[in-house]
């Protein structure tokens, strides 16, 4: 390192904290045990600011800022838990639940799902917008894995892990808006994908039951979502 790393001091929820200039509000908050909810973010992958759960208020800034991509600045005053933020976060979750068919009781990751536990953490007891009940396919053509679009929240962790860590770029998104869907290759059945290495990273990082492994009882389908930082660290320089 040629240049000295600069450290910024700031306040998060009235607590004095400090962070390196290349760190985000989210990183610094987590280092200090301050909880900011996230769904699309996963340590080890590029942050995209898409789920909007991590929006925070910064004094003097009229817009709400996504903590996962906003760098810390000197003298910043960040608020993570205002009533308004909590209301918006619950609405984001309600919109996600209303979008597809999230039937927790019969889901393969019941009890091991980030969406489910986030709803409980944020105190969302019901969905106030009407459920949309789209008709969506389940692709079980892969010999080991299944994609169930009914449970997908379009966080694109699978897309990113496949591109950024595995380097296969099997996954991508097709369609627009409410019709968006994750696809393998050029929307071929997963089992016919020529690029998929069957590494299973997408399954590991999926926050919900959209991607899961065949032939294992539900209780053994624990996801290993935190393994990425290790992988990324081992290939220093890749990211």
């Amino acid at each position: 390192m040629n240049q000295p790393v600069r450290v910024k001091t700031l306040k998060i929820d009235d607590r004095d904290v400090s962070g390196r200039e290349d760190e985000t509000i989210l990183e610094v908050a987590r280092q200090n045990g301050i909880f900011i909810p996230t769904l699309c973010h996963l340590e080890g992958l590029t942050s995209i600011g898409a789920c909007r759960l991590c929006l925070v208020e910064v004094k003097g800034v009229s817009r709400l800022l996504p903590a996962c991509v906003t760098r810390v600045e000197e003298g910043m005053e960040v608020y993570t838990q205002s009533e308004r933020l909590q209301k918006y976060r619950r609405m984001v979750l309600e919109l996600i639940f209303s979008e597809r068919n999230h039937i927790c009781s019969v889901c393969v990751v019941n009890g091991n799902c980030e969406l489910q536990s986030m709803a409980q953490t944020l105190g969302m007891t019901h969905v106030s917008v009407p459920y949309r009940f789209p008709r969506l396919p389940v692709d079980a053509s892969h010999e080991r894995f299944v994609v169930d679009h009914n449970r997908c929240i379009l966080c694109t962790r699978c897309v990113r892990v496949c591109d950024e860590i595995e380097g296969a770029h099997t996954w991508d998104v097709m369609g627009r808006g409410i019709d968006s869907r994750v696809i393998t290759d050029l929307n071929q059945p997963w089992g016919e994908s020529e690029t998929c290495t069957s590494c299973g990273k997408c399954v590991s990082v999926c926050p919900t039951g959209a991607l899961f492994e065949k032939g294992k009882p539900v209780t053994e389908r624990l996801k290993r979502r935190q393994s990425l930082s290790y992988l990324a660290m081992m290939r220093e320089g890749r990211r």
Binding site: F97, H102, I103, C104, S105, G111, Q116, M124, V127, F133
Partner: protein, 177 residues
């Protein structure tokens, strides 16, 4: 002290929430020292009474009968509780929604039947085009998610309600629990 009047209703659900209710075991005795169970699949009365303080509704709204019943229940209840995932989210009954009611009837009564296949048109109530959670039909005051909610969660929620507090159910239970 006047005893509170509690009712429970069973719409489109598996009755698992009522089983969990019974799992409160000896705590039931304690609870019903402060309250009367005035209407329920578990007790005798056939007509839903007036002036009910707390009604627990299990199940989603799936048929014309459910629709009629829940409106009547709402009109006669002070605090309406959506009791369990079917009432709160639609849950398993709502899994027919993406397909439409006709496809489901076709599958159940024609395709999978060998002896006199026919869609019933009398006696059983007509199905609504869509299964809906209770709060999409009438106003709901308290939500207790869970499939089923644990006896513990039901007990704590009811204790709060009987004491005149609105329970923070997110701390007690979650969807699919």
């Amino acid at each position: 002290m006047n005893k509170k009047r509690i009712a429970t209703v069973w719409l489109d659900g598996c009755s698992g929430c009522h089983m969990s209710f019974l799992d409160m075991d000896e705590r039931l005795i304690e609870l019903f020292q402060q309250a009367d169970l005035v209407y329920s699949p578990l007790v005798d009365p056939k007509e839903f009474p007036e002036n009910v303080d707390i009604t627990l509704v299990e199940g989603a709204v799936s048929s014309e009968e459910d629709l009629h019943k829940i409106q009547m229940v709402r009109a006669n209840t002070k605090i309406l509780v959506a009791f369990g995932d079917c009432a709160v989210t639609g849950n398993v009954p709502s899994m027919r929604n993406p397909f439409g009611v006709n496809a489901v009837l076709q599958r159940a009564y024609l395709e999978n039947v060998t002896l006199y296949p026919q869609v019933p048109r009398e006696v059983i109530p007509a199905l609504c085009e869509r299964v809906r959670p209770v709060h999409e039909v009438v106003k709901v005051d308290v939500f207790i998610p869970g499939c089923p909610p644990s006896a513990e969660a039901i007990y704590l929620a009811l204790t709060d309600l009987l004491a005149g507090r609105i329970p923070d159910t997110a701390k007690l239970t979650r969807f699919g629990a």
